[in-house]
């Protein structure tokens, strides 16, 4: 099952496209990092997936073919929006009760227990909570709905490092316990490296990279060699070239078995390095081939 599947998806605000020609299939059972610079269209894609906005072009479905915003999609997807909007004049207990009243499924007991564990008093108004507490409360509310997909939009932007760690620990516990799929956007790459196993790179409203992190890392290498010999690599799939004095660093699409030219050294590449290289080269792309995507679509239709 694909938790999110988009084809030719586009969203225009006035005259500018926030998202364009976005075709992507995100399989279930992953922690998906949606990465891109500010204004790349991350929030737009997430808002489209949770049904808060309507697409200007193309289609998007969730949870295996459901239209976003339909009752089945609303039941199965929990969304924590950017800056975790909560009702400032309501207490934590009120937020629990309110969210419980609005959902078919809500695990009140575990949510209350989780808040006690976090040391968030139930009587406290959300407007008086710290940024970390607000984020944890919003996440607790989302997880208590026992969603099949958890969508988090820049959840850690306002948090200090400790709060970020605690927040991601809660998310990863839910992944381990309930097998919830997670789709989270962020422009802070470092914090995603530890948790995400699927990467989608958005740049200027288009999908640039999409795939499992392990596959992406296995199919890219960092080559270091004399700067004068860079030309030798012409014609090969080079993503990004970084020159330093006499030495050049090339991020190339190659597996560990591919031969290394004489005089060059090959290193495995990290997720952050890979993402940064692609972000610096908006023209480059690493997407699942058309054949592969068609397979996914066909299995969806028949299933």
């Amino acid at each position: 099952m694909n938790v999110v599947e988009a084809s030719g998806l586009g969203k225009r605000y006035g005259g500018t496209w926030a998202l364009r020609e976005c075709s992507v299939a995100i399989p279930a059972g992953h922690v998906v990092a949606l990465v891109g610079p500010n204004g790349a269209g991350k929030s737009t894609l997430l808002n489209l997936a949770v049904g808060l906005t309507a697409p200007s072009a193309g289609i998007v479905t969730v949870l295996g073919g459901q239209p976003p915003g339909s009752p089945a999609a609303l039941d199965g997807i929990a969304f924590v929006a950017q800056d975790t909007p909560l009702y400032k004049n309501l207490s934590a207990a009120d937020m629990l009760h309110l969210t419980r009243n609005l959902n078919r499924r809500f695990d009140q007991v575990s949510a209350a227990a989780r808040l006690a564990e976090l040391g968030i008093p139930l009587k406290q108004k959300t407007g008086r909570m710290s940024g970390g507490q607000q984020a944890q409360l919003a996440l607790t509310l989302a997880l208590a709905r026992r969603p099949r997909l958890l969508v988090l939009d820049e959840p850690m932007a306002m948090l200090d490092p400790l709060a970020r760690h605690d927040f991601m620990a809660t998310v990863m516990t839910a992944v381990a316990d309930d097998g919830v799929s997670v789709l989270l956007s962020s422009h802070v790459l470092a914090e995603l490296e530890r948790v995400a196993d699927y990467l989608i790179l958005l740049s200027r409203g288009r999908v640039q990279v999409a795939g499992e992190v392990d596959d992406l890392l296995a199919s890219h290498r960092l080559l270091t060699g004399p700067a004068a010999e860079v030309a030798r690599y012409a014609g090969q799939p080079v993503v990004h070239i970084r020159r330093a004095e006499a030495v050049a660093h090339l991020l190339v699409r190659a597996s560990a078995d591919d031969p290394v030219p004489p005089g060059w050294e090959a290193h495995p590449v990290g997720m952050e390095e890979l993402a940064l290289a692609y972000l610096r080269e908006p023209g480059a792309a690493a997407l699942p081939g058309p054949a592969r995507r068609r397979d996914v679509q066909r299995s969806q239709v028949t299933g």
């Binding site: 915003g69 339909s70 969304f79 800056d83």
Partner: protein, 371 residues
């Protein structure tokens, strides 16, 4: 393929079993919790207003009873009591101050319902819950609409009682009391009594809800609601209401004091209209006892003088007996307008999700794929 589907089906059934139904009444608590301060404020405001009306109203009623029970009516004591009743004339008497009440209720309760969610971003929490955005909007607007209309209805019962003495004849034998002030249909007081007050409050609330959705900011939405309400109330009072039923036309002077005079004009015997300037010229010829202040025929004597000289006064009016018919007409169109505005608001909320359009497109894609 079968291997892929097999584990998915029991898993989904298991999840569905834990799903509870989502009845509409679940929104009652949500609505109360979110809008309790607005509703408590509303109750406090209306309570204070009711207390004022009750205290002043008792004085009005006592003064009225004293004035009408006084015999003989022409004595100095009685005239004193009557002028005391007239003297009660306060800010409430013409009703224009109280007409602001529905507008304020609509603006301060109705406008923030959607505007606050959109302004603070909390709609992203509310509209992604299982209840669904259009059901959420409909439940909130209808529940609050019923509450504000009921509260306004209760206040209007008190208002009707307060204004009762003003609509009873107390100047018996004074045929010239053609003032529109004491007509139950007159613009100032008509909307405060009967079903109109609740209907106007409902309309103001519905305007507020739609303004909030369109403007998406609380303060501008409140201001827009007040402006829209003022425009609608002015249009209804000045232009619309007099056409609910065909107005009556008479050339006689004995138009009941309680009638709502819409227009008066003078004609010659031939039926040609006469200007006021001509009339005052005629009156001036009649001497000082018939020429009123400014030359406008005001007294019985001047009226009789003009009739004797071949002029006819045509009065267009709505009789007071049409009060309840007018109330129901006004109540009905305001109710229809409110329902329309609420429906439009819910439709706008729903449309922004684009669900309908998308569902259709997905169906087309599936059909094309041979599913």
């Amino acid at each position: 393929m079968t291997a892929l589907i097999a584990p998915a089906v029991p898993a989904r059934r298991e999840q569905d079993a834990s799903l509870r139904p989502l009845p509409w009444r679940r929104m009652a608590w949500v609505t109360w919790r979110q809008h309790r301060f607005a509703l408590i404020g509303l109750a406090a405001l209306l309570g204070a207003l009711a207390a004022c009306l009750w205290i002043v109203g008792l004085q009005v009623h006592h003064a009225y009873t004293a004035a009408t029970a006084c015999r003989p009516t022409s004595s100095i004591v009685c005239e004193g009591l009557i002028s005391r009743f007239d003297g009660i004339d306060n800010v409430l008497s013409n009703g224009y101050v109280l007409q602001a009440v529905p507008a304020l209720i609509g603006a301060f309760v109705g406008a923030p319902v959607l505007a606050r969610e959109l302004e603070t971003g909390t709609f992203r929490h509310a509209w992604t819950q299982g209840f669904g955005r259009w059901r959420w909007t409909l439940a909130k607007l209808v529940a609050l609409a019923v509450v504000v209309a009921a509260a306004a209805g209760a206040l209007s019962v008190l208002l009707s009682w307060y204004y009762q003495p003003f609509f009873r004849p107390y100047f018996a034998g004074n045929p010239m009391s053609l003032t529109t002030e004491s007509s139950p249909l007159a613009p100032g007081l008509f909307a405060l009594r009967g079903v109109a007050f609740a209907a106007w409050t409902l309309a103001a609330f519905a305007i507020g809800g739609l303004a909030g959705m369109l403007i998406r900011r609380v303060v501008p939405a409140i201001l827009a609601t007040l402006a829209a309400y003022a425009g609608l109330a002015f249009a209804a009072g000045s232009y619309l209401r007099q056409h609910y039923l065909t107005a009556l036309l008479t050339s006689k002077l004995n138009v009941p004091a309680s009638a709502w005079i819409i227009s008066q004009r003078w004609t010659t015997k031939g039926g040609r209209p006469v200007s006021l300037a001509t009339l005052s010229q005629v009156l001036r010829q009649g001497g000082p006892q018939v020429a009123g202040k400014g030359g406008v025929p005001q007294s019985l004597a001047s009226w009789q003088y003009l009739v004797q000289h071949g002029y006819t006064q045509w009065t267009t009016y709505q009789p007071a007996s049409r009060f309840w018919t007018f109330q129901w007409i006004e109540g009905s169109w305001l109710l229809a307008l409110s329902l329309l505005l609420i429906a439009a608001t819910v439709w706008l909320v729903h449309r922004r999700s684009g669900l309908k359009r998308r569902e259709r497109r997905i169906a087309v894609v599936r059909f094309a794929a041979g599913d």
